[in-house]
Amino acid sequence: MNGRRIGQRAAVAVLGCATLLTLAVVAFVIGFVLEKGLPQLSLEFLLSKPRNMGKEGGILPAIVGTLLLSSMAIAVALPLGVGTAVYLAEYTRESRFTRALRFGTDCLAGIPSIIFGLFGYIFFVTTLRMGWSLLAGALTLAIMVLPTLIRTSEEAIRSVPRSWREVSLSVGATRWETVLKVVLPSALPGIVTGVMLSFGRSIGETAAVIFTAGSSFRLPRGGFDSVRTMAVHFYILAREGISTEKAYGTAAALVLSVLAVNALTYGLMHRFIARRGR
């Protein structure tokens, strides 16, 4: 009896330490970025355009570019990803085809972003003559996050207990109504995790974005305009050694944007769960 208790205490201690270590790492990285970058964040920095090669002024075009690009990418990828996941999980039987498909999406999740960038450059920017543009960038990013969305959505949908579906069908709902009103809502947290991870990835993406959305530091006026995202801007500033202060400021702005988006999404999700009365 005692041996098992000790075993449990030891295990919990180890796991707790691992968690603390993880949190320490997160705190360090975020703290490092914010410590160097927060002093830079003034209203002027966030709302004005850059001057003098990025040494002065602000990063408004980059902020706008980032939000537009990532939102468009998710807007394209979400229906495709969730739709595919629903189809795979609800309308097909487990077969060699679905296993091969899952295998394929896992593989594609591992393709380096630079290859997506090149695909985007050669297909969207050059062949389809979109030029370096928001559209090319968004479509490329959408394809990039698609495997992750499909996989996490499918996991979330599969984790909804089978009994719930059976109950729903037994009271006369069609399969689609079951999916819509029973399965998807309870799979929502998992799907949202996938969306958050994808959004995070698309905000931080640099290689794929430079090749497709370009790096023009102007406010975009239409879907065919090139944009520079904050990540790209940070990369260029840090790379060319123009202004380390502004670079960290950009990184801090980035981190805070992700925080804001995360908070918003969790807020929405909790409201939704609360409404359903669970």
Binding site: M53, A75, V82, S215, D225, S226
Partner: protein, 273 residues
Amino acid sequence: MSQKPSATRPPSQRVLAFILITLSLFPESCAGRASSVTLAGSTAFQPFAEKLADEYDAAHPEINVTVQGGGSAVGISAAVNGAAQIGMADLVELPPDAKVLTAFVVARDGIAVVVNPSCRISDLSMTRIRDIYMGSVRNWKELGGPDAAITVVSREAGSGTRSSFETILGHFDLTDTAIIQDSNGTVRETVADDAGAIGYLSYGLVDRKVKAIRVDGLPCTTELILAGKYRLVRPIYFLTLGEPSPAAKGFIDFALGPEGQASIEADGLLPAR
């Protein structure tokens, strides 16, 4: 009536909404394409080009100048295939596929050889630098310094700075133990953090974190570059396919004119002349 979350709106409505949003993004873009100039290429010159574009924009708001990066070779291929009206390249020798392009020199840039500030070496001959980069000299003690391995830092194969560096020093094979960084800024950081490192970068980017050494006894200064004595120098080209379009020509003239050149000089590059 409880509000339905967006996931339950019928798929057809969602698709329609998406199409409408997408279409609303298009209208501006087709207009104004006739009078736009896109530059692409050298990442080292990109910030300068952007500054020039901003200044040009103030005087000529009807012309839309956009600047992209990608590197010298992207500049050349974009100029050739029309993706950009002006390609930017910072190479000492233009490659064969650039022969079809018209070249304008807009600036010149010196390449400084840098070491860590704690390094006692302040002067190296070009032959010794070449030996270090080829890997024949691997330890600082062979140069009169402490017994420490030399960390050789270079740029990626397609960098205009690197190919200019290697061309001027006399075409050699880089040692395969060289650390490769992909920009001036990261080369500077690497050399600043490693007591035994040596690297090269745009001379406008040398700051207190690194020490620029004399090459063949000559420090890297504007005067010596303009006098032609300091030899690690490369030109920055604007390349166009055949004759530039009127809009492009306007921008090139601005860049080569007094305001453009003053702007370039103010930030550490050398004028084209």
